[in-house]
């Protein structure tokens, strides 16, 4: 069923009792051409683009819980493309372009809101670094702007401009950045993939990867064995756990990252604001009115989807230092997501030493904004067996060959990325 103003009126007249489910709940077939493990936004986007752009039929997405129950539902919904390094910049710019056309593409309201991102500058050297990054972005066909202190003050009068340690000297702005409703991205891709015949199988946990003569033949799951010609992993957060089933050695540590949402408030924050202090603090306001803000990693290896009070306290302290008006706002909910932290802070979309096994993971903090390009490039890789031009540097063997994509210049230390 195509969604439109007409369909809303028509369904309303019959009491909204006749909406068809947005996707089917099929039983797994014995064999698929392509199985994608992980029913998050990346896995579902991959399935959609495989079916649509690369004319692949007979695809299944296996999800151990319900779709969107992992990091797709545990992020701060920010989209942006302020990356500088070749290998990252074109990839994230493709992603932003796909976000811009996503709702028409999927016939689904994903609430893509290009409200602009304001990345604050607190020192002269930081301004220089931002100018350099912004120029690199402009040369790559993206958008970037540098604002001085008074321009920022006109835009965001409620910030603390005279903090003793982190005064605000200006800002780096990407106007096309913004936020998207995260669950709607999952549902939109799921519906669009399903309508092209993709089987989305929930509550189906992969427990083993069966191999024969060096090739994957299928997966053991909680719903029995399912055969496949090609297996694609999109299980960021648990990439090491799933990769181990196929004997992959991965440059990944799992870490917990927390985020928070406040009680609903009247419109207060019109942009995505990023506190450029080195510690992470970023905030936006959802359409329901809650302030959505996030943090830095807790710092230790973790597979628990919850974090520590020390990180909560430092995030709140950062928030109040930046926006003193937040001091009496109550946090409503907190959650933790498990990040695949790689050794250089950049993701992996690549073939693996097993010929018909493909890997998508290592998304660190950057998974949500990358969703459309990740799905598109991963589908390209699976269908054509060669990387998409904008993702060709996101290789698994770049560490071994000495070509890391260390955007932050932090070295091989996953909890600093």
């Amino acid at each position: 069923m195509r969604y439109s103003a007409f369909s809303i009126v028509k369904q309303a007249l019959s009491g909204n009792r006749n909406w068809a489910p947005a996707w089917r709940e099929p039983q797994p077939k014995a064999h698929y051409d392509v199985i994608i493990v992980g029913g998050g936004a990346h896995g579902l986007a991959t399935a959609y683009y495989l079916a649509k752009e690369f004319s692949t039929a007979n695809i299944a997405v296996l999800e151990k819980s319900y779709i969107g129950s992992g990091n797709a539902g545990r992020n701060t919904t920010i989209i942006r493309s302020n990356y500088m390094l070749p290998g990252n910049s074109a990839f994230y710019e493709l992603s932003l372009k796909l976000w811009e056309g996503l709702e028409r593409e999927l016939n689904y309201n994903a609430m893509v809101s290009q409200r602009g991102m304001v990345y604050l500058i607190h020192s002269d050297s930081q301004r220089d670094a931002m100018a350099r990054a912004g120029n690199a972005m402009l040369m790559n066909g993206s958008d970037a702007e540098l604002l001085d202190r008074e321009q920022v003050r006109r835009l965001l009068p409620y910030l603390n401009y005279d903090h003793a340690r982190f005064p605000i000297l200006g800002a780096f702005v990407q106007r096309r950045a913004g936020t998207v409703r995260h669950d709607a991205v999952v549902w939109g891709y799921a519906r669009a993939a399903d309508s092209r015949g993709v089987d989305i199988i929930q509550d189906c946990e992969v427990t083993a990867i069966r191999r024969q003569d060096g090739l994957v033949t299928g997966v053991e799951t909680s719903k029995g064995f399912i055969g496949c010609n090609k297996l694609a992993l999109a299980t960021a957060g648990n990439t090491s756990t799933v990769g181990r089933m196929a004997g992959l050695d991965l440059p990944i540590e799992s870490h917990v990252l927390q985020a928070f949402v406040s009680e609903g408030l009247k419109p207060l924050i019109d942009h995505v604001i990023i506190y450029g202090t080195g510690g992470h603090f970023y905030i936006s306001q959802s359409d329901k009115g809650g302030l959505v803000f996030g943090a830095d990693l807790d710092g230790y290896s973790s597979y628990a989807q919850r974090g520590n009070l020390a990180a909560v306290e430092s995030t709140m302290a950062d928030g109040v230092a930046l926006i003193p008006g937040l001091s009496r706002v109550r946090a409503l909910r907190a959650w933790g997501g498990i990040m695949d932290m790689t050794m250089d802070g950049s993701p992996i979309i690549d073939r693996t030493p097993v010929d018909n096994l493909y890997l998508n993971g290592g998304w660190c903090y950057g998974g949500f904004k990358a969703t459309p390009a990740s799905g598109f490039c991963f589908a390209h890789l699976i269908a054509r067996n060669e990387p998409h031009p904008v993702a060709r540097l996101l290789r698994l063997d770049r560490f071994e060959r000495g070509f890391p994509l260390d955007e932050g210049g932090k070295g091989p230390q996953p909890n600093l990325q």
Binding site: D249, I252, E253, S254, Y300, S302, A310, E400
Partner: protein, 92 residues
């Protein structure tokens, strides 16, 4: 993660006093080791789910390097030992 860590030298201290380096299971190879061994040491991680040993430093206390043995799913801390003690035990 527990909010309190029992340092073997300083006793029970808040987690904020410690900094985390990472996986304690990898062992630095000799300078003459092959590129492959160095790659595995610098980049490749087992990243297990469950019991885990990690190097922490009591940065705002005795500044000793410690090995924190804990569970990265339940966040239970089993024990904390001085890294030098662990190294001596391994050497024996």
């Amino acid at each position: 993660m527990a909010s309190l860590i029992k340092c073997p030298h300083c006793g029970v201290r808040p987690r904020e006093e410690f900094s985390v380096r990472g996986d304690a299971s990898v062992v630095r190879p000799s300078p003459a080791a092959s590129d492959e061994e160095w790659h595995r040491y610098v980049h490749i991680r087992e990243n297990p789910r469950g019991p885990y040993r990690e190097h922490w430093q009591h940065a705002a206390g005795c500044r000793r390097w410690l090995v924190v043995h804990r569970n990265n799913v339940t966040h239970e801390v089993y024990d904390v030992m001085d890294a030098a003690t662990v190294a001596k035990e391994v050497a024996q």
